[in-house]
Symmetry: none
Amino acid sequence: MEKKQQILAAALALFVEFGFHGTPTAKVAQDAGVANGTLFHHYKTKDELVVNLYNSVKEELAAYLSEITHESDFITPKFKNIFTHTLYWALQNRAKFYYIRQFEVSPHYAKISADTIEKHGAIMNQLITEGVKKKLLQTRPVDLMLSLYNSNIFGIYQYIINSKPEPEEQQAAVLAGYEMVWDMLRYKG
Amino acid sequence: MEKKQQILAAALALFVEFGFHGTPTAKVAQDAGVANGTLFHHYKTKDELVVNLYNSVKEELAAYLSEITHESDFITPKFKNIFTHTLYWALQNRAKFYYIRQFEVSPHYAKISADTIEKHGAIMNQLITEGVKKKLLQTRPVDLMLSLYNSNIFGIYQYIINSKPEPEEQQAAVLAGYEMVWDMLRYKG
Amino acid sequence: MEKKQQILAAALALFVEFGFHGTPTAKVAQDAGVANGTLFHHYKTKDELVVNLYNSVKEELAAYLSEITHESDFITPKFKNIFTHTLYWALQNRAKFYYIRQFEVSPHYAKISADTIEKHGAIMNQLITEGVKKKLLQTRPVDLMLSLYNSNIFGIYQYIINSKPEPEEQQAAVLAGYEMVWDMLRYKG
Amino acid sequence: MEKKQQILAAALALFVEFGFHGTPTAKVAQDAGVANGTLFHHYKTKDELVVNLYNSVKEELAAYLSEITHESDFITPKFKNIFTHTLYWALQNRAKFYYIRQFEVSPHYAKISADTIEKHGAIMNQLITEGVKKKLLQTRPVDLMLSLYNSNIFGIYQYIINSKPEPEEQQAAVLAGYEMVWDMLRYKG
DNA sequence: TATGAATGAGGTTTCATTCAT
DNA sequence: AATGAATGAAACCTCATTCAT
């Protein structure tokens, strides 16, 4: 079990730095401190490793978010809570967050089943659907809102990463971003 | 000159379908109708081809945008003009637009010089800077506004692509997206 | 271990016949009875193979010479012993001896460290140094004597090879050569 | 005519530094300041260039030697004259001298006709034959004497190059070398 | 005579994967 | 479960040579 974690950790670091194809499995094994064959003992193919890593990262993020939210919370604060904590998590797990992007733009993403994708987006999907119904969010297609939500998360993250401010500045930027996005999506009479 | 264009065209189609690494240079040459060596006669490296293709696509988009705008235009309509035409161009040049994303998320992007990146973003940078100064846009960091602008372009594009509507629906979606983004960035007393 | 030896043996035969560049690594692997990748598993580079082969041949000769000599031998017979046995070895290991020349004239030779070169020449260097000190050899720079020693080995070898005499003739030629060289280097009042 | 010389000069410098196979014809052309095709206009193949360069260098050396000797000279001073001037030439034309060695050890050498080889060695061959007959040189096979003569030239050259002394030291070393070699080959009662 | 774009065979090297231990 | 030598297909790239201008 230990070794699988080492492999995932090494793969994450290398994939983020050099890309999937820029990273030989031999290098992953070496950095993980295991033998070449061991990697293939745990993951039948390189693709399987790539996909497993994505799923494990996604699940980690999902677990974190479900930890800081509760079913019973009101929609408006819940939205803020999820939005800001997603960014906090991203800033503290940059490699993992970068890997998510990298993976989702790659042809590998096609191998993720529709079910899994839907499951990953379920929380926000539900939240937005409810928000629209209760007239807390604009009356627009849910998919459009969701897509904008996601791309704004990336946009703000990108901005913060590039301008590399201090931790306090980062927090301020997250809040500023939240305000803008909320203002964009909220219901206006 | 002819052959260079053929190579770029073949590379674009293949890279978008199979990814950089999923595309052998031999296949690019073959699809371009030139000999293998010809590709390397014009581009010393596969990497050089990948980067040149990116630059050529970016320049094409920039040329298109500068064609449909005029220095003298007012900021507000100019913003709308650029925003909507960027999306129209993206929808009519999907492979090229997809390639831009693919490239910018890849490690190759690190090879693009800061100068070049700034040049590519110059038009919008200038527009937003001016808009902020004239109190037509919110008083926020220009880089944040720019980052959000870009990510929203991608978000809306993604939404339209995924929900595959008819041309008219596409146009409506573009306008809806424009309204939301403008509402997000515009000055509010 | 086995396979590394097979690769070296195949490389020697081919390099001597066709030269380094006239010999594809694929041919080396094939003649060695191993897969192409196996060669690169043991030698990261073709260059590394070329250099390793040289070192291994040089060490073999050194081992042979140290086998037939003893520290305690007197200088004069020791000189004769080494001189003649070097030639005997060369005549019985023509490919290896030819390879040494081929390598030392090639640009590859520049990659051999000064330390290694000195180590290879250590036995004769010591012997000549001592011979000069004890007034058994001429009072000339040791490096000059060493250089002449080596080139005369090659000269006599070349003569024998070209005139292809019978074994007995070869032995006579070796002794004749020895006499001339010894006469050239020995102390003369 | 000019361009052929430029090509030969560039080829010499590059072949000496990188070897025949380490030097692309394209690089030769570039360094010579001519177009790629121009090289092949003057030399049908790369091999032809390699061989022509060898012949031109050999002829240059032969011309120089015949310039400083006369048919009528006595054998003993003529021998000294040729020996020392060969070394002087070598020291002042290092690249050319190095190229001769490089070429003669390579498989290319097999392409030089026996006639040409004999012609190149004719002067010394004749001199040694005559010297043996007149009991000025030892009664040994001419080929052996010739082979030793040549290898000693290389040996002394090598020594001088490696110990890099000042010009005066070089001259002294040449003379010391001459004395040793003459002492080796001369007739002794 | 000179050019340089074009060619394509062939070379070196990489790398995911297997398998005997 | 773990190893690492062995594999061989396939990738990238080189380069001598040709040819239309």
